[in-house]
């Protein structure tokens, strides 16, 4: 099975920004334009996360989602401030194919994962995990790496799988935005723990980093931001490099 290459857009409306350690941000473009660019480059999927919706307790901007969805014919995953089955529904009607949950499920009600998977099917429920390393273990953070939850990452991923999540995106609070490579050990542990697809995120700074995590942790997908936003690499180049090194990816 091909490993998927996903272009991830962190959005602080109206701009795609590049968070560094989930904190400082730099504007890198508009979501609709970047989504189309990465679609044309050969991305397997686009992920759009409104990184401030949850923190400011406001609704995601549906008009931005519609614009982003309008010209791409690959799956679009949307996250940011999702709190209810009704939010899921509004996102699907705005152009989402998958919905990404984090803060609300961790802090308020993990049962939303079960409810949503019963209504929309597991395949459209993605749980984003923001992991912070504390030596021998990882803790779940929320609100883009700002808030501690006390939950252990490896226990949490097992729980979300049992609640019906269809996919897990694993980000690292320590590695995000630094472009110094993935937290390979974290991703390997999560991949071993669950039987649902895992998307590895946070840390792609070079082709070597992507190859390393692909080989050592064998995630089902890799989410890439900075490397694409600054035109360091194009998706086609990444896929060719992986293919040349024995990793199966789609054309």
């Amino acid at each position: 099975m091909s490993m998927r290459i996903i272009a991830k857009l962190d959005v602080k409306p109206p701009y795609v920004v590049k968070p560094v350690h989930f904190e400082g941000v730099r504007k890198v473009g508009l979501p609709a334009e970047l989504a189309q660019k990465y679609y044309e480059q050969g991305a397997d999927e686009i992920i759009y996360v409104d990184i401030v919706a949850s923190l400011f307790q406001r609704e995601i901007l549906y008009s931005e989602i519609e614009k982003t969805a309008s010209k791409i014919f690959i799956p679009l995953g949307i996250g940011g401030g999702v709190r209810s089955v009704d939010d899921f529904s509004k996102l699907f009607h705005s152009g989402a194919d998958k919905v990404i949950l984090n803060t609300y499920a961790v802090q308020n009600d993990s049962d939303l994962i079960r409810e949503a998977s019963e209504v929309f099917g597991s395949q459209s429920v993605v749980v984003n995990v923001e992991a912070k390393n504390w030596g021998n273990s990882w803790e779940c953070f929320t609100d883009c790496g700002r808030v501690r939850s006390g939950k252990n990452v490896l226990e949490w991923v097992e729980e979300v799988e049992s609640l019906g999540a269809g996919e897990i995106m694993i980000q690292s609070v320590d590695h995000d935005g630094r472009q110094r490579g993935f937290d390979v050990e974290l991703i390997s542990r999560v991949v071993d723990k669950v039987d649902i697809p895992v998307i590895a995120a946070s840390g792609a700074g070079s082709l070597a980093h992507i190859l390393e995590v692909s080989k050592l942790a064998q995630p089902d997908a890799i989410a890439i931001s900075s490397l694409l936003h600054y035109d360091v690499k194009k998706i086609g180049e990444i896929k060719k490099f992986l293919r040349d090194n024995g990793i199966e990816v789609s054309e």
């Binding site: 091909s2 014919f73 529904s89 099917g121 089902d220």
Partner: protein, 200 residues
Amino acid sequence: MSNVIGVVDYGVAGNIHSIKKALEKAGSKVIVVNEPSELLKIDKLILPGVGSFKDAMKEIDDNGLREALCKHIREKPTLGICLGMQVLAKVGYEFGQTQGMGLINAEVKPMLCSGTVPHMGFNNIEVVKKNPILDGIEDESFYFMHSYEVVNYTDVAALTTYCDHQFVSSIAKEHLYGVQFHPEKSRDAGIRLFKNFINL
């Protein structure tokens, strides 16, 4: 050749927006169908793909659509996408046992294989019965996202293999078609499939 396509709305679920947009790109007029009277305005029907078997059937029943849909599907070209193909089966086992529309002799069961489930991503199809929907795109890959599969032995149009597990990825029975993958998420190959459907 007529071009008004109705897309069934399952209420809270369904990625109507994505399907509508891809159909429009393929050159069709699209109407969203959520009550029986709207079926009179359309030439062809699409049952879309996001949701769970149980909830989709409940929604169809709550809107009084089951009988009208079955009648329409027997008469006019219909394409079921993912869950939309699955609900054509006799029975589904997602969140308990639910009766489907019974238009194809099939059951919908959880995928059992060595790979991670849901099966997600682009994958190939192997056409076993030529049909107009798959014309010109037999060698393309399509986007899959599903945890359940249609088990059918009589109307198989294409098969797909995922981690050594082979399953039905397309069915064709007279003017009734189904695909387990998402044409609306499968780049140009998916648009071509919609064009093939529009041109039936």
